[in-house]
């Protein structure tokens, strides 16, 4: 090689200097790339594209024959009137009289409160102490959450009508002349039909979609909200509820991290509700039965285990389902139908083990509703138990739009789709030793801390109206309003 020593700046020196400069420029470039990747709105999965490109996790690789929840005893169906907190609280408010006490409640409520006396205390506390405080604090600190509340209400302002007829009537498209269901078209092949339904779900706006055979254990035994069922008669699972199609969307990402409660569930609720009704309409027009079960409360069944059955994700510690693409930032709707379909397989991408050690949601839950313990048996199935009465009481201990969503915001799986979090998911899902899972949980706790959980409470309960992360610029009322 020519070495022009003594001739000053040689070609060789130039190449060496270029190499050093390139190393510097390349490194700086990676820093800028990272910054852009962190800000990139395209990492806000589920809000940018309706073509289904966000359902990109290789589910086949993690498919298992049995769902990741365990059946351990004799199963029974949930009674929505007492087991589902929203319905129970509604009934309790209508029925409770101090003079008559427990005796004045319907028998199923009496039975429930006798078995769960701590819930009677929590429900009474909510009614007598919490709600008056909430109203007073809302008046006092209204301005802080004004834009967020208006945005939340706007998101929930549009929705399909409520179902009021029984399934045999409302689930079918009826011939106007005869009053009978229209004739069903014959599909060539259930595999192709399933593909069509999934494409249609994405086309209608669903971020994720999956299909399960409906397990009747998930259907309520009784309900209190009508939808064609009487509250004092047991629900007989309609014969045409053979399959359950799951659709859904995520909540807006920046507000989600700003809970409580610059975020809202209404954004995803509204989208998922509309998608559910649209997909049901599509199926009904082809002559098959279809009923949407949609958020916030229009369900005849429990949704999380159906998501597990449909391979959408696994049930995590706070009882909600963690998906590989969106973490637990996923608000689902379910369509029950008799359209012949092929169910998807459940998946196991390591959530059960991860949740056993992680406990970040339990540490950050201000109400103590999430257990630190192991899964326990409930109605014949093993699962992490969440105290929904404590949870709902905390919802009424914060200002802004209704809800909390902290267990969604803090979960390591609920991250935007940039390279760091995608890589972390890949590594944990593929590591059989569980070592990376422990390492990443440790880093997550150190790198992404939140405020002291007690500061999330409203001021009259000793808190500071804190949020996990600051609200996005477009929800900061103080920057816009006098």
């Amino acid at each position: 090689m020519t070495q022009n020593k003594g001739k000053g700046f040689t070609r060789r020196t130039f190449l060496k200097a270029s190499g050093a400069a390139s190393a510097l420029l390349g490194s700086a470039g990676l820093g800028f790339y990272g910054y852009e990747a962190g800000k990139d709105p395209r990492t806000y999965r589920g809000w940018e594209n309706w073509e289904g490109v966000n359902q990109d996790f290789n589910r086949k690789k993690y498919a298992v024959d049995k769902p990741t929840y365990l059946k351990v005893g004799e199963t029974s169906r949930p009674d929505a009137r007492s087991d589902v907190i929203f319905y129970r609280r509604g009934l309790f408010r209508r029925q409770w009289r101090d003079e008559t006490g427990l005796e004045g409640l319907d028998p199923y409520l009496q039975k429930y409160y006798r078995q769960n006396p701590e819930h009677l205390e929590l429900d009474l506390y909510s009614q007598n102490e919490l709600m008056p405080k909430l109203m007073a604090d809302t008046r006092k600190y209204r301005k802080q959450f004004l834009l967020a509340a208006a945005w939340s209400n706007a998101m929930g302002a549009v929705g399909p009508p409520r179902i009021t007829e029984p399934p045999e009537k409302s689930d079918f498209m009826l011939n106007r002349r005869t009053g009978q269901p229209i004739e069903a078209v014959q599909f060539k092949d259930p595999v192709k039909t399933s593909k069509l339904i999934k494409k249609m779900a994405h086309e209608l706006g669903s971020t994720l979609v999956g299909i399960a055979r409906l397990n009747p254990d998930w259907v309520y035994s009784y309900t209190s909200i009508g939808r064609g069922f009487k509250s004092d008669e047991p629900i007989e699972v309609p014969k045409h509820w053979q399959f359950a199609i799951v659709v859904g969307t995520p909540m807006s990402w920046d507000p989600l991290y700003a809970n409580p409660t610059y975020g809202t569930s209404n954004d995803a609720y509204s989208r998922s509700r509309i998608i559910g009704f649209r997909l049901a309409s599509f199926i009904k027009q082809l002559g098959y039965g279809a009923r949407p079960h949609t958020p916030g409360t229009d369900y005849d069944l429990m949704v999380p285990p159906i998501l597990v059955d449909a391979g959408i994700g696994e049930q995590g510690r706070p009882s909600i389902v963690i998906t590989p693409e969106l973490g637990n930032n996923f608000r689902p709707a379910v369509i029950t139908t008799n359209l012949p379909l092929v169910p998807d397989k459940p998946i196991d991408f390591g959530v059960q083990d991860f949740c056993k050690h992680c406990k970040i949601c339990a540490e950050n839950c201000p109400s103590g509703a999430i257990t630190f313990g192991d899964p326990v048996e409930e109605r014949g199935y093993l699962r992490f138990k969440v105290d929904t009465a404590k949870c709902l009481n905390f919802w009424n201990s914060t200002l802004g739009s209704m809800g909390c969503r902290l267990c969604v915001a803090v979960c390591p799986y609920t991250r935007k789709a940039n390279w760091i979090h995608k890589a972390a998911l890949k590594v944990t899902a593929d590591d059989p030793t569980g070592l990376t899972e422990k390492g990443l949980t440790f880093l997550q706790k150190k790198f992404y801390p939140g405020p002291d959980p007690q500061t999330y409470y409203m001021p009259s309960l000793g808190g500071e109206n804190a949020s996990y992360r600051p609200p996005p610029w477009w929800l900061r009322s103080e920057d816009f309003i006098e």
Partner: protein, 99 residues
Amino acid sequence: MSFFSSGFFWFMEGVFACLAVLGLKLWAEDRGIPMPFWKWILAGIWVVFLGFTIAFVGTSLGENEVVAARLGGILFGLTSIVSGIGLWRLLHSGRKAVK
């Protein structure tokens, strides 16, 4: 799409990487440092880790996760420096005197 998420950016990163490898090769030759394949592999791993550290800090800042950027910068940055010093010494092993 910004420049840093475009294909052209990665093309430029490739050009920089090639130039850096060439520069390292010439530099090692001039100093009489033998560069067997294992040294190239170790250097490559170190460069990838350094790149990860820089991109991690950048991404965390972009996400507004300042604590993650700071702690990640310290933890991964220190690891890069310590391993970098070790690698530097290792690179010099087997060095011959240059006339």
